[in-house]
Amino acid sequence: MSSLPSQARVVVIGAGIVGNSMAYHLAMQGWKEIVLIDKGRMPNPGGSTGHASNFIFLTDHSKEMTAFTLDSVRQYKELGVFTQSGGIEVARTSQRMEELQRRMASSKAWGIDAQLVSPAEVKELVPFINEQVILGGFSTPGIGTVDSLRGGTLMREKAEAMGALTVVPQTEVTGITVENGRVRGVRTDKGEIAADVVVISCGIWSPRIARMAGASIPLSPAVHQMISVGPVPLFAGTVGEIKYPIVRDMDTNGYERQHGGDMEVGSYDHRPILWDPDDIPSIEQSKLSPTELPFTKEDFDESLEHALELMPDILGDPNVGIRHAINGLLSLTPDGFPLLGETPEVKGLWSVAAIWIKEAPGIARCMAEWMTSGIPEIDPSGSDVARFYDHQKTKAHVQGRSAEGFNKTYGIVHPREQWESNRRLRLSPFYEREKALGAFFFETAGWERPHWYESNRKLLAEYGERVMPRRYEWDSRWWSPIINAEHLAMRDRVAMVDLSAFAVFDITGTCALDTMQNLCVVQMNVPVGRVIYTSLLNSAAGIKADLTVMRLGPNHFRVVTGGADGPRDKKWFLDHLPEDGAVQLTDLTSSWATIGVWGPRARDLVTSITDADVSNEGFPFGTCRFIDIGPVRALASRISYVGELGWEIYVPFEQGVRLWDAIWQAGQPHGIVPAGIGVYGTTGRIEKCYRAYGMELEQEFNLVETGLARPQVKPQDFIGKEAYLKQRAEAPAAM
C-alpha cells in the first residue's frame, strides 16, 4: 500500500469491481500514473461488491447490457474466477411462459445458447425443486458465478505489475477541484492529488462524490434483501462454491443460488427501500459493512414462503437455518441503465456507476476505450450519463423512478410500458387541447406526448380491417388500432402532430459554419433557409446522432433532434465547440413548441391560414422560413419524418395554443385529425424507411450498413470522415 502521489494521469475513486476493472483496462489502454483510492481497506472496502450474490445470467432484452455481460464473462473466465453452473428462470404463470419465449428470442438474437425446458427437465437439473408449482423454465447452460473480490484483486494487481497503478486505500475523498468546468484534482484526508481525469466508480456513494464537483450521477441506493441458509445436507462435500444451477423464481421476484454448503435466497419482491447516499453509515458505524444494513425480516416474509414452496426439500429442513441475512445496498437509476461517460457538467470527470457484477469488467473495457480513443467497441449510448435532462437528475425523480423500477427487476416489462411516477412534468402548450381530445399520453424525457387520440375512435369504423387490429394481447398492449386509423387519415387527408418534445438548440457565432461542417456528414454550407438531415459520426464513423439542421443565417444554425436524444447530442456539440468561444450553443428546447402538419391536404390547409407562398415552387422541400399565421410569426420547415407533404411549424411556446387553434379550425373542412406519436414515431416513419436513433441507428453501425451513405462525400473535413471513406470502399458487414 502506497502513500498518496501528488499527481496522477487519472484518479479512479472507488475500488469495488468497477474501480479495479477500470484501473486494469486503463492500464491495458496504455495509461500510466493511474491512482486508485478508496475510503475502505483492500480487498473488500465495504461497497456493494463485497456482499454481491455474484451470479451472472446472460440474457437481457437490451443488446447493450447483454454485450457488456458477455464480455464480462469472457474476462472473468480469463481471470479464472468464473464457475459455470447453468441457470434457469422458472415460470409459475402462463404470462411468464410467454415472457420466457421472448427471452429465448433475445437469446437467439444475441447468440446465447438457451432452451425452454419442461418442469420435469427443470427437476432433472435441479433435483430439489418442487416442479409442481412451475410451468417450465428458460435454461441457459453458460450461466455461472464469479468471485468478484478475487477478480477485482487480480485486475488491480495486474495493473500494478504493469507499473501503471498506485493503490491508496483508507483514503477518503473530501473534495474535487474544478476549474473553468474542468476537473483538476482530488482532495483527500491524506492530501491533494492533481489530475485532469477523474473516474467516479463509487457505486452507491457516486452521487455524493459527483456533487463535490458540481456534477450529477443520478442513482439511488436501494435495499436488496438476501439470506443465506444452511448447512444443506445435499450440498455437503461440494467442491467449489456451486454445483447446481441457479434458479430465478421470476414470478415471485426471487432467486435461489447454492453457495458452498448454503443456499442463498434473494428477493426483489419487497417494498422498495431507498436510501439517501448521504445517510449511508460509515465503515465504523456499520455492524457488517456500510452496504450490508440490518435485515428487516418483515419485508422478507413473503419471499420466505415463496422460496419454501419452490424448494421445500432443502429450505423446509428444520435443521437448515438462516445463518446470515442482510439488507444489501445496490444502485438503482431512473431508467434501470448504468451511468457511464463523462459528466456533462464537468470535463474530465467520468461516471462509471450503477453497475452490477455481471457487467462490470465489460463496461470497464468499454469505458477505457471511450476515454482513450473515443470509440468503444460496444456502444454505450443507452447508458450515457449525459442522457438526462436536469429534471431527471432531481432526487424526486431519481427516487420515484427507482422505486417504481425496483419491482420490475424480474418483471415482465413491455417495451412500450410507461412509467407512472413523476408524470405531467413537461407539458406542451397544446396539452389541454390534447387532453380534451382524449389523448393517451406516453412519456418521452418528461414530456407528455399523445400516442393516439380517443377522439379518433370513430375512424375505426371508417377504415375497418385496414387498421390491422392486433389479436395477440402482448402485441396490442400499450397500443391502439386508432394509431393505424390516424395513420390512414393522415395519408388520405391531413393530420396535426405535437412535436414539442424536440430538443432544439442554436449554433451561432462567427465560426458556426466550421463547427457544423466538422460535426456533420452532410454539406452545411448551404443557402440560408435550407433544411438538412444529417448524421453525426464518431472518429470511427460509428453513428453518434442523426438530426435536422436549419440554416437560419450565415452564422446561425438551428439543430433539431429527438427529445430523448437531446442531452446526449447537446453534449456532443458542446464538446466540439471551439475553445475560444467563437461559437455558442443556445438551448431553445423550452422556447419553441412545434406542430407537424402532414398529408395531401396540408398545403390547402396552410394556404388558408397564411398569406405566405407555400406552393411547391414558393416553398420547396428542404427549405424553411418564417411565415405569419394570423398574429403568430412561426418558423415553417418543409421536412418530414412521415413523408410528404407538409411542414413542421415552430412557434414561440407561449403562442402555441393560438397556432393549434388556427390549424385545428382551418383543418376542419379538410377532415384534419390529431395524430399521435404512434404514427409519427412508428408507422409513419417505418412506412417511409426513416431510421430512428437507438433503434436502427447506433454507434456500432455505419452509414453504409444503415443505407444512409449518400452518393457524394463533401470535400470538407468532418469527424469520422477518414473511417467513413474506408467504409464506403469496403463491403458492409451487414445490411
Binding site: M1, R41, V229, P281, S282, E284, Q285, S286, K287, L293, P294, F295, K297, D301, L304, E305, A307, L308, L315, G316, D317, P318, N319, V320, G321, I322, R323
Partner: protein, 257 residues
C-alpha cells in the same frame, strides 16, 4: 416441565458506538436489534429441554411493542409461547423490571402455569446490570444460580456448573429454580424457514404492567474511550501462514499440546 426465558431487546451494535444527542440512548439509526448472546443460549437451552422432557416454553420480554421482533425470533427457534410486558417506551430500572416479571409469573401461576425453570441471560447486552434474575428469584423465593455454563435436568432436580477463575463450581438443586446463563452453555441453532414462518403466525400475549419507579434514574450515558484498530498486512499468499502461527503463539492464542 415448563420453562420461562426472559430476554431483552438491545441494539446490535457495531464497532463504533454512537449516542443520541441527549446522551440518553445509543443511536440506533443504522443498527438492527437483537438479544444478548447469553440470552440466545438460554433460549436454546429451553428449546432443547422441552424437546427432551416435554412441556412448554415461554419467552418473555419487558419493552415497547417493537420488542415482539425478539419474541418472534425466539419462537422461530422453537419456543412455544410469548409474553410481551408492554411498556410505553420509558426505561424500567432493574427493581421495577424484576417486579413486572414477578407479577407476570404470578399471573401465569394463577392461570395454572407453574414454571419449573426461569432463565435469564447472565447480564443484558446493553446495561449489563446482572440484577434481574437474582431479584426475580429473591422475590419469588426460589433458588438461583448465576452464570451457568452447563445444565442437566433430571426429574425435579438440576445439576449446573459455572466457570470461575479457579475452576468449575458445581451445584445441585431442586426445581423450581432460577438460572442466569452465560454464553457457551450450548451452541444456539439458527432459525429454520418453517420456524420463522410458524413464529410469524403465532399469537403474542400482551400484558400492560403499570410503570413504577424503581428508584434508579439514568442520568446520561458516556462512551468509554473506544479502542482504535490498526490493521497490518502480513502478506498476500500462503507463505503468510508461518508468520500467522508465530503471531498467534506470541499472542498466546494457540494452546500448546
Amino acid at each position: 416441565m415448563n420453562i420461562l426465558v426472559c430476554i431483552k431487546r438491545v441494539p446490535a451494535t457495531a464497532g463504533h458506538i454512537a449516542l443520541t444527542p441527549d446522551a440518553q440512548d445509543i443511536d440506533t439509526k443504522y443498527l438492527g436489534f437483537t438479544i444478548s448472546p447469553h440470552e440466545e443460549c438460554a433460549v436454546e437451552e429451553a428449546v432443547r429441554l422441552i424437546e427432551k422432557h416435554g412441556g412448554s416454553s415461554t419467552v418473555l420480554t419487558l419493552g415497547p411493542e417493537v420488542a415482539i421482533d425478539q419474541l418472534r425470533d425466539a419462537m422461530a427457534l422453537g419456543i412455544d409461547r410469548a409474553v410481551l410486558l408492554q411498556t410505553d417506551g420509558r426505561e424500567w430500572d432493574p427493581v421495577a423490571t424484576a417486579d413486572g416479571i414477578v407479577e407476570s409469573v404470578q399471573a401465569d401461576r394463577a392461570a395454572g402455569l407453574d414454571y419449573d425453570l426461569i432463565m435469564f441471560g447472565n447480564e443484558s447486552a446493553d446495561s449489563a446490570g446482572y440484577q434481574i434474575g437474582v431479584r426475580v428469584a429473591e422475590v419469588l423465593d426460589l433458588p438461583c444460580v448465576t452464570g451457568i455454563k452447563a445444565l442437566e435436568v433430571d426429574g425435579a432436580a438440576a445439576r449446573v456448573r459455572r466457570q470461575t477463575e479457579s475452576g468449575w463450581e458445581r451445584a445441585e438443586l431442586s426445581l423450581p429454580a432460577v438460572f442466569t446463563v452465560k454464553e457457551g452453555l450450548n451452541l444456539p441453532r439458527y432459525p429454520s424457514l418453517p420456524g420463522r414462518l410458524k413464529a410469524k403466525k403465532k399469537d403474542i400475549e400482551r400484558r400492560k404492567p403499570e410503570w413504577r419507579d424503581g428508584g434508579l434514574e439514568k442520568v446520561r450515558l458516556k462512551l468509554p474511550v473506544q479502542a482504535s484498530h490498526n490493521v497490518e498486512m502480513l502478506g498476500k499468499d500462503g507463505d503468510v501462514g508461518v508468520e500467522l502461527v508465530e503471531l498467534f503463539q506470541r499472542l498466546q492464542l494457540l494452546e500448546r499440546r
